[in-house]
């Protein structure tokens, strides 16, 4: 009996089963990626999959791109431990899609070609605006990528039973190498298929587990909540009320409001999300993509609500927090509790596939931005052969992949969970104001764009650097550091705010107005006319390639 309990807290499931199921996923996706790569000829094929995906396919891929390991493992764990406040987090991720649906997706599809910078530089001075947009794209991608790769280390520890740092590093390198292979060979087409397959597996797996959990409580949500409350013991009632995680002080409340702002405005400025809109043939398909994505993402977050409380009720918060992987282990432990080794193996494989798919999407975005914006348009001023650009993109993929592996190995075990929130804050501050101004504000000009983008980017990074997230946050009970810099003697934090959004987002919007109004740049009404007419009618928009 005691051995059963011990194995349940130290190593659950059978690592070989987990690896075998993940291996099957890799094999199937590799075959599909190689088949898809046969039609990769032009830049439009490599960056935008020939614009040949349908709305439903792209919507599923968007869900696969967006539902990162952080949202699956992280939100399930947050709900299991903190209850309602974890749920609160997922709502921002969903509502944000309305910004993309109503204001961005279709207009962007109609005016751009491959990258976010295409749209931002449409009617402004090409080189400076492209450079700024590319730098902010690379910053967002870098933060997001590092967070995903660091998460991979924790997942390895949990799912494969590998505690040794060096061995974890090897697994991170294998995941990175696989990702490089997918993106190098398959381009956007291969990446998209990996994301579609992963989204279907993830949502189906979560759906089965959700029904399973609900069936244990007679499909009565109130009973499930009671189960979680009972399991949590003393003070368990707090699980169904707000404030357990963010309600501690006025500062933590303000931090949450700031985070909520960055989440809802950040999604429509995430470069890897924006790039997905170019993979469909028309604005109408871009709209269908977002409709599909919203349904899939929304339904998935409803599943996580049940799974989170289910993990709280059936596994229990103490077992979860003491497991290797901590909070992130809630969903895998619940899978083991419900379906034993096989279900755990499936969910583990899905979690790995999730990291792979998200990292692949980020990498192709960064590669496109570097090759198309910085190399072809900034460095070579557009005088470059299309296949030369794709060659640079492929080299960039390898470089970013290696960087991601090194970053992942170094960030393994570090406290870098804030990086995802930072990526959203940068997207909402540096990207969204300029996207909206250039689509909707006639007078907007180059200096407004540069002020807003650099102002948003720099203010986010500076505010994070001088916040307790980086240094000087100490757990009052244990005396251990909660910051990125673990050495408690190093403390250079100047402000108590942990999420920069509430300052940097309004600042970036304001700088866009100030930069525009204070500049003497002559307006170009003919360029605005072209952009506005094209954005709303689709005239002159990039067509799908025919093979």
């Amino acid at each position: 009996m005691s051995t059963v309990v011990r194995t349940a807290t130290e190593q659950v499931g059978e690592p070989l089963v987990n690896i075998a199921i993940f291996g099957a996923f890799v094999l199937v996706t590799l075959i599909i990626v190689f088949r898809a790569s046969r039609t990769n000829r032009t830049a439009a094929d490599y960056y935008a999959a020939g614009r040949s995906f349908t709305g439903p396919q792209n919507g599923t891929a968007i869900a696969g791109d967006y539902l990162s390991a952080a949202s699956f493992l992280g939100i399930c764990g947050a709900i299991a431990i903190n209850g309602y406040d974890g749920f609160l987090y997922s709502i921002g991720f969903l509502v944000a899609w309305l910004v993309a649906l109503l204001l961005v997706a279709e207009l962007l599809r109609n005016t751009g070609r491959f990258t976010m910078a295409d749209v931002l530089s449409f009617r402004l001075r090409q080189r400076p605006v492209r450079m700024a947009a590319a730098l902010s794209t690379l910053a967002v991608v870098f933060f997001y990528l590092l967070a995903q790769m660091a998460g991979a280390g924790g997942l390895v520890a949990l799912l494969l039973g590998i505690d040794d740092r060096a061995a974890q590093g090897v697994v991170i390198a294998v995941v990175g190498a696989l990702m490089i292979l997918y993106v190098l060979v398959g381009g956007m087409k291969g990446t998209t298929w990996v994301q579609i397959i992963k989204a279907v597996l993830l949502i189906a797996g979560a759906g089965v587990m959700t029904l399973w959990v609900l069936s244990k409580y007679g499909f009565n949500l109130s009973e499930l909540l009671q189960g979680a409350i009972d399991q949590a013991g003393e003070g368990g009632e707090a699980l169904i009320e707000p404030g357990k995680q963010y309600g501690a002080s006025a500062m933590s409340q303000l931090n949450f409001v700031s985070l909520a702002l960055a989440l809802v405005l950040g999604t429509a400025g995430l470069p890897h999300v924006l790039m997905r809109f170019y993979t469909v043939p028309s604005a109408k398909e871009a709209r269908r993509s977002v409709v599909w994505a919203i349904w899939l993402i929304g339904i998935f977050y409803l599943f996580t609500l049940v799974l989170g409380y289910g993990a709280g009720a059936l596994v229990g918060p103490e077992t979860i927090t003491s497991a290797p992987g901590g909070v992130n282990s809630a969903a895998p432990l619940l899978a083991y509790e419900l379906g034993g080794t096989i279900l755990l193996g499936i969910i583990s494989a899905v979690a790995f596939a999730t990291i792979l798919a998200v990292v692949a999407g980020l990498t192709i975005t960064a590669a496109a931005s570097f090759a198309h914006d910085i190399y072809a348009n900034w460095l070579k001023r557009g005088e470059v052969k299309p296949d030369g650009e794709v060659r640079v993109a492929r080299i960039t993929v390898v470089a970013i992949g290696i960087l991601a592996i090194i970053g992942g190995i170094f960030a393994n075990g570090q406290n870098v969970a804030f990086l995802v929130a930072l990526a959203f804050a940068v997207a909402a501050s540096a990207n969204l104001p300029t996207i909206l101004y250039s689509l909707f504000w006639k007078r907007f000009n180059t200096s407004g764009a540069l002020w807003s983008m650099y102002g948003g980017l720099i203010s986010c990074i500076v505010l994070i650097a001088i916040s307790p997230v980086v240094s000087g946050k100490v757990d009052p009970n244990t005396g251990a550091s909660l910051s990125m810099i673990r050495d408690t003697s190093i403390d250079f934090h100047l402000i108590p705010l942990e999420n920069p959004g509430i300052i940097s987002i309004p600042l970036a919007f304001l700088l866009g107005i100030l930069g525009t109004v204070l500049s003497k740049e002559k307006p170009h009404p003919e360029k605005f006319a072209e952009m506005e007419v094209r954005s709303l009618t689709g005239a002159g928009a990039e067509k799908a390639t025919v093979h």
């Binding site: 307006p523 009618t537 002159g540």
Partner: protein
């Protein structure tokens, strides 16, 4: 960049932009998406602020362990799905045909003297 003095000949795109049909398309679009955006942002921040600062109200039990906060949260899902479907239906029925007609006019070069429709 070319100069933009007032005597520069008007481009095709500017003619389309000036046309009544395009102006109506643009007005309908903005009259739909801007108020809708304001609506869901206000509703979202109302929810965020209540969850952050009105714990007692949001923690009120409505039925069993179902709290006001949970219902508000699920309400965010319902409103997001509803706005999505309302927008998609509206855009499919009201905007696409007009946009498509204007696009064909522009791409086939059948523009003259600002008369598009």
């Amino acid at each position: 960049m070319t100069d933009t003095f007032s005597d520069t000949p008007e481009t095709d795109y500017q003619r389309v932009q000036r046309s009544a049909e395009f102006q109506a398309l643009r007005r309908r679009f903005r009259n739909f998406v801007f108020p809708m955006t304001a609506l869901f942002l206000v509703w979202y921040f109302l929810y965020v602020l209540l969850s952050t600062y009105a714990h007692d109200f949001m923690g009120t039990r409505v039925w069993g362990n179902i709290t006001v906060g949970l219902l508000f949260g699920l309400g965010q899902f319902v409103s997001t799905f509803a706005i999505t479907m309302i927008y998609a239906r509206w855009a499919n029925n009201r905007q696409d045909q007009v946009a498509e007609r204007l696009r064909r006019h522009i791409e086939e070069g059948s523009l003259d003297g600002g008369e598009v429709a």
